[in-house]
Point group: C2
Chain length 493, copies 2
């Protein structure tokens, strides 16, 4: 009795190599077309009975054929012969450049430069004439006020505790102590209720986006809506995972939800404090986004990169706090609240996705490193994080107020600042009387580093402006630098 569309002959029970024959004959039948694309493969139990093989053997053969691209599985409905036979690899032609053997995504100049690291077009400052550096780049934090001594001390204490643990490898979701500390922190700072088991600790927010891209994107089929302007390192991993990106415009009320394409299965937003504009997603748009996700079966990635740093009127609620449909993947980071190079962040996914996410994390790199987990666990646990955030919130608040005051008093001829009650940057829109891209280059030569808003657009910029990060700029530095900026504005207009 044939249970496949072809009969297999793997020999009588007891014949050696029957499992390999089973594999080889199935493989040949698929490649030869005797098994038709889309044909359902019999359940492993039935095939095991029919051919006198162990069920685990049949499952092993099916998995191998899945890896070879000859079978495909559809969630909840079994395993099928793959629709398209996988084409042969295109080997590098003899004499071709060695790079031709790489995945071309990583050779794209826009991908490398989006991360701001390999930026060959950077303007060199004239250090002789302008020896003092004023760094308004966003994403940097004040290291002068960081309690390094406390971090060192609590790290050593926690390392000692970790050494007592009997395990060689940690938990892929992160150390349970650290997850408990993060759950407490989220509850206090962002009114988000969660269990430690719901969290996945990551190497910074960047790994969180990268893992979510790989978890959520179906290569070549998924459409991901991203904010425009927005933070390029959030969207690049989704492009790398094979998604189509659809930039959606942002205004003073955040992402314009009406413009979401109906086929967007994933929506990436920074609802509390949009980067770089600084606006918050309005109440109406929040409701519209949740409705969109419900009606279209979409998932939401919430980037809450500086949720702890709202100055006025208490924190705006995270979208995750109203996630009744269980579709929000919340991403947090300790890069802003501790140190950027500590590289620790986390994802709070819907509970149904925790295990698949943890699997992706093990594949990507396994648990985060012990010394780093020890440091952050100690820093949160001892109350040091809350104290540090309290102090920095006040300091950053003073700087924001100063910068907004200066922009409103001395720059009205050129710039209109966007109201912001959050974080460590302020964005100001240009009225077009000055070419801000050129101005940014002029300032860079004078050792003042301010990014033009155009750099954050995906595709052509629809607004011109400047982004003032003040993480590393104290009030005297802000006053001095802004006087120099004004001078350059006057020259340029």
């Amino acid at each position: 009795m044939a249970i496949f569309e072809v009969e297999l002959d793997i020999g009588a029970t007891g014949t050696p190599l029957r499992a390999q024959r089973f594999h080889r004959q199935l493989r040949e039948a698929i490649l030869g077309g005797q098994l038709k694309p889309g044909a359902r493969v019999p359940a492993s139990r039935a095939a095991a009975t029919r051919y006198g093989l162990a069920r685990t053997t049949v499952v092993g053969v099916y998995n191998q054929l899945l890896d070879e691209g000859l079978l495909a599985s559809r969630h909840g409905s079994g395993t099928y012969v793959a629709e398209r036979p996988v084409p042969l690899a295109d080997m590098a032609a003899p004499g071709a450049a060695p790079e031709a053997r790489l995945n071309p995504f990583w050779l794209r100049p826009d991908v490398a430069s989006a991360f701001g690291f390999f930026n060959d077009a950077t303007v060199a400052p004239d250090i002789a004439a302008y020896p003092t550096v004023f760094d308004f780049r966003p994403g940097l934090v004040d290291l002068k006020h960081f309690p390094f001594d406390i971090l060192r001390r609590v790290s050593a204490q926690k390392l000692r505790a970790f050494e007592q643990a009997p395990f060689n490898y940690g938990h892929p979701q992160g150390n349970p102590d650290l997850r408990a500390a993060i759950a407490m922190h989220l509850s206090v700072m962002r009114a988000i209720a969660c269990q430690p088991d719901d969290l996945v600790v990551t190497s910074g927010a960047q790994q969180a986006f990268d893992l979510l891209a790989r978890l959520l994107v179906k290569p070549g089929r998924s459409v991901v809506a991203v904010e425009n302007p927005g933070y390029a390192p959030t969207r690049i991993p989704f492009a790398a995972a094979g998604a189509r990106l659809h930039p959606v415009e942002v205004d003073a009320e955040g992402m314009i939800i009406d413009r979401l394409p109906r086929d967007a299965g994933i929506v990436c937003v920074s609802p509390s404090h949009q980067f770089p504009l600084g606006s918050s997603l309005s109440k109406e748009r929040r409701a519209a986004l949740i409705r969109f996700a419900r009606e279209n079966g979409a998932l939401i990635v919430e980037d809450d990169y500086d949720g702890e740093f709202r100055a006025a009127r208490g924190p705006i609620r995270a979208l995750k706090t109203v996630d009744e449909d269980d579709v929000v993947f919340y991403v947090g980071t300790f890069s802003k609240s501790t140190l950027p190079n500590i590289r620790l962040g986390f994802i709070l996914p819907p509970r149904w996705a925790v295990r698949a996410l943890a699997t992706a994390k093990i594949c990507a790199d396994g648990p985060c490193s012990m010394p780093t987990q020890a440091a952050v666990t100690g820093f949160i646990g001892g109350g040091h994080l809350t104290r540090h955030i309290g102090r920095m919130r006040r300091l950053y608040g003073e700087r924001r107020t100063l910068l907004l005051d200066l922009l409103r008093s001395d720059f009205t001829a050129w710039l209109d600042p966007i109201e912001s009650a959050y974080g460590m940057h302020v964005t100001a829109i240009s009225n077009g009387t000055v070419d801000v891209d050129a101005l940014s280059r002029t300032l860079a030569r004078r050792n003042i580093h301010i990014r033009s808003l155009s750099r954050y657009y995906h595709g052509p910029a629809t607004q011109a402006g400047l982004v003032f990060g003040f993480g590393m700029m104290d009030p005297p530095a802000i006053r001095t630098a802004m006087a120099m900026v004004r001078e350059a504005m006057e020259e340029g207009s």
Copy 2:
């Protein structure tokens, strides 16, 4: 004059929104089929001149269309209209399980269980009758002999030095101090000459494999040859990146190079100490592998997971030392030589691939975390790593000799050990008189954890055996446990 196959009308110079019109009209022409698949898109300079746009604007629009899947770029030969219009995303049907919205790869039970973490079928030990745990799992290391106090002290010293650094984020390839220390370590331990700038520091070897998979695999087109049996966490990232895996059998001389399929563009090998069999790639096969790569334009991923731990007759040379064609991506790790949960490894790629690899690393998670880099830099720099390796090489050597002696004297009725002069595990092949899978389960109930060789096969196993890791087993524990194993063997045969 039309320079595209269709004429675009974006309005006279000075008209607002000309860049957006340029984008929208190109998009519509591609989706509408007026621009034919495969048609070459004019150079950005020509298009900029023709339409009176800034060249950066044109480049921005092209990049956006690339991300939308409507254009495709071929390395060295420009940008084309994509061959297949990207199909719409398959949205989750209303009422479908929430998991249907995830990339199904991460839901595969074989993927989760390959990492040994989510293994639902684990046998629970009978702790009342067998209170002592004997853990022969490979990949574990001896924590009792690790100088934790030294690690804590050098960590604190190095952290202090890092705090003086003016940067907020580290270098994506890893801190220069650490890379200099690794280059020195490689030169001393493995006779590999390299510059610090050639290295990319990773979160353990696992991230190295994952980054290489993403860098090297062209989704749906690349064929990757992997050792069979082999280390599943090496091959899973390649499957995740969209490669077809081709398992190649291993024998006492390592991977059987003759059986490499001609379309394998990437070959993953552990030539110094094959995992799990323990054999070394013979001289003839090394030459054959290099010849294969040269003739087929293939790249080689060399996993040197325990290269420091060869006991007899000095280390076998790494393949990387004879890489005249610049095709070997060498992967090393500190998981075996320091602590598995320190999560630090590195890649030494061919120089032509460094920048693309660093770009992939930034996308994946950015630089490795500062506390971890500080710890390992201090540990290598102070000579502590070399000292620790020297001590552990002797201890592991004693355990290997003891285990091999016991296997050769007391287990000849059932097992034939594979000669090994390396590392911290020994594999023994079963002569078939005992069902080793069943034996492994019986032993697990008695709190002795030994993995069956079958677990390391991709597809059906062609040999049966047991893998004895002795990283956590000192000589008295080995003696006690092996007596219990012998008892179970006698019951089972």
